[in-house]
């Protein structure tokens, strides 16, 4: 017993004094703040994948760290401050709710660069914002969904009634209706980004209403499990969710942050970093389309791929008129393309979607 205690004490001391190995030429310190767990297989998972890609790219040139499950609000401000105090040079805050904390901490640490995902406030010269044009991916999923549904009912698990989500519903609906004029969308508001139980219930409710294709704007794979049992199909959200391929997952919208993170870290190293607002889509690769499986008929795959290519090249914009408001009045005239300002604040449904945006 005495022996063991001594052994433990010695090994504890040895461990305690083993200083972490530090690289010689001061690597760039990059911090990430995550709203979820890196194991969520959705939103946070993809941000973490991009963090790993960043490490891969620069090797010893960067050191990354992250804190996960950080609630939005006061806790985020504290985590950000501690991260800045610990010597981070560049910090990515990866949830909309970190907007105010990011700007508040940026004010106090003018030499630390902040990158806030999905927000719009850049109050200080050391804050940038970035987001992805997920609605481009939604257009492709809508295009597939419209042709795959036999009941003509497409279910949609929505998270919160915010512009990002409403934009996705509109984009998906417009492109589903384009290929299938009889299609109907049934929308369930889950009021969560990640809650497997709630998401599974929502999927079941949609299936009970006759939906045979389900789209989700929530991050867990729980709806996939329900779809598999019911024989419905759906699409991976945020990450590929390839473990559910070829069915129920027939394709996916993938968030690919790696190119952006690498470019921004490079900019800090080069001293060329400046405050920017980035909103990239399929073209620059920030939005990826997961492999379309054999469950989709070949001609649908081909036309979906054509749509992907047209969006990527900038030849086609998913919100191109004529598009009417829900009440039938005109929003976009023939050939008119929606401006980013309207898209960013989108709080209305387009014509053909029934029900109201919850308020």
């Amino acid at each position: 017993m005495k022996h063991l205690t001594k052994l433990m004490a010695v090994s504890a001391l040895a461990l305690g004094f083993a200083a972490p190995a530090t690289a010689q030429d001061d690597p760039l310190q990059v911090g990430f703040v995550y709203v979820g767990s890196i194991g969520d297989l959705g939103w946070t998972h993809e941000h973490n994948e991009a963090r790993l890609a960043l490490e891969e790219e620069f090797g010893d040139g960067v050191e990354t760290t992250y804190v996960e499950n950080v609630p939005e609000g006061a806790d985020a401000e504290r985590v950000l401050t501690q991260m800045a105090l610990s010597g981070a040079d560049l910090i990515f805050t990866t949830s909309f709710g970190y907007m105010d904390p990011t700007n508040a901490v940026a004010e106090r640490f003018p030499n630390v660069m902040f990158e806030h995902a999905t927000g719009y406030r850049r109050d200080y010269p050391n804050v940038s914002t970035y987001s992805a044009r997920f609605y481009e991916g939604r257009a492709v999923m809508g295009h597939i969904a419209g042709q795959m549904t036999e009941s003509n009912i497409v279910g949609y698990i929505a998270s919160y009634p915010i512009p990002e989500v409403i934009r996705g519903i509109n984009s998906a609906y417009l492109h589903a209706r384009e290929v299938n004029p009889d299609v109907e969308f049934r929308i369930v508001w889950a009021y969560t980004w990640f809650d497997p139980a709630v998401e599974a219930d929502a999927a079941q409710a949609l299936i009970d209403q006759g939906a045979d294709v389900i789209m989700q704007h929530t991050d867990s794979t729980a709806p996939m499990t329900v779809m598999r049992e019911a024989g419905a199909i759906g699409f991976g959200q945020a990450s590929d969710m390839g473990q559910f391929a070829p069915e129920p997952r027939v394709s996916a919208i993938i968030d690919n942050w790696a190119p952006y993170y690498i470019a921004r870290a490079q900019a800090v190293m080069d001293g060329t970093w400046e405050s920017t607002d980035t909103w990239d889509g399929i073209g620059p690769g920030m939005v990826g389309i997961g492999e379309m499986t054999d469950a989709i008929p070949e001609e649908v795959r081909a036309s979906a791929q054509a749509l992907v290519d047209a969006i990527a090249s900038g030849e086609y914009h998913p919100f191109t008129g004529p598009i009417n408001y829900q009440d039938g009045s005109q929003w976009l005239a023939e050939g008119e393309v929606a401006d980013d300002g309207t898209l960013l604040g989108m709080d209305f449904y387009v014509e053909g979607i029934s029900g109201d945006v919850p308020n």
């Binding site: 609000g73 504290r78 909309f96 709710g97």
Partner: protein, 361 residues
Amino acid sequence: MLRLEKRPSPSRGWTIATPVLAVVLTMIAGGLMFAALGKNPVEAIRIIFWDPLFNMQFASYARPQILVKAGPLILIAIGLSLGFRAGVWNIGAEGQYIMGALAGAAFGLAFYPSESPLIFPGMIIAGALAGWAWAMIPAILKTRFRTNEILVSLLLVYVAEKLLASAATGLLRNPEGRGFPGSRQLNRIESMNNPELIANTGMHWGVVVAFIAVIMAYVLLNKHLLGYQIKLAGQAPRAARFAGVKPNRLIMLCLGTSGALAGLAGLFEVTGPAGQISIDFNVGYGFTAIIVAFLGRLHPVGILLAGLLMALTYIGGELAQLMLQIPAPAIQAFQGMLLFFLLAVDVLTNYRIRIKTEGVA
């Protein structure tokens, strides 16, 4: 053979020693867990318990933050402890916390952009009343219909969360927020701000009120007839009835007080550190406060210390994530161990261990 023998009365020495023992056991078991995760256990424990207080790089910022984090925990836990002592189980402080924040914020925003100095006091009253009212639902259901207050108060948390989501995306949404969820920034509006009272101390009105609550609860429990009745009702319900305690009145009082204090905590949080009503405004203070209440032995001074300790593990836990990449769930498990060991060693307060030779037993 080890045998447990019931003590005639709880040991005073162990009452004080068990929380300390629980912390030590948590450090050992947590250290083993960190080691199993491939992290240096000594360094992890040092980062969690020592660095926020004494590491020069972080301490000047982290120390005040401990108060900010402990404030709502202590305030809520004090309220809960009164009920817990009387055998009234309010598990829904989280909901009362949300309702206090919602009602307070709604009151303030209704007068926006008025600069009247009466707005903040009005918000405080609205917050306390809303928390009280939300707790009155399980109280009335229990006294009238004998429903179980544990279930009712807990389920009302989910109702409150839905109301919060609805308010953040609808009624209280910032009209200048481009359609994004979340209210105006209350802590940027002079008349609704709950500021740091002394710079770099973390001291805001919520912390002040938490300290006052500790003192009031101490006086109540030790010097006041009501405090005696609360303790008696918990320890000997039948005797309490003979002593003239009216159980229904006590239930209303305990739930009402804990609800009001939770509502206040929510109000001070939304006007101060959190700053706005948002969908995810609540972060579990109402539930963590239950741990704090028990960790503090339901004693006001104990709760004060337990709240500070819990806040320390939060802030140190974040540092450990940051510095050592210890996953967040491991930190939560570490905090969970604290309650687990406390309850486990609690047995020593009420029982003594006797070693007997085989055969005798």
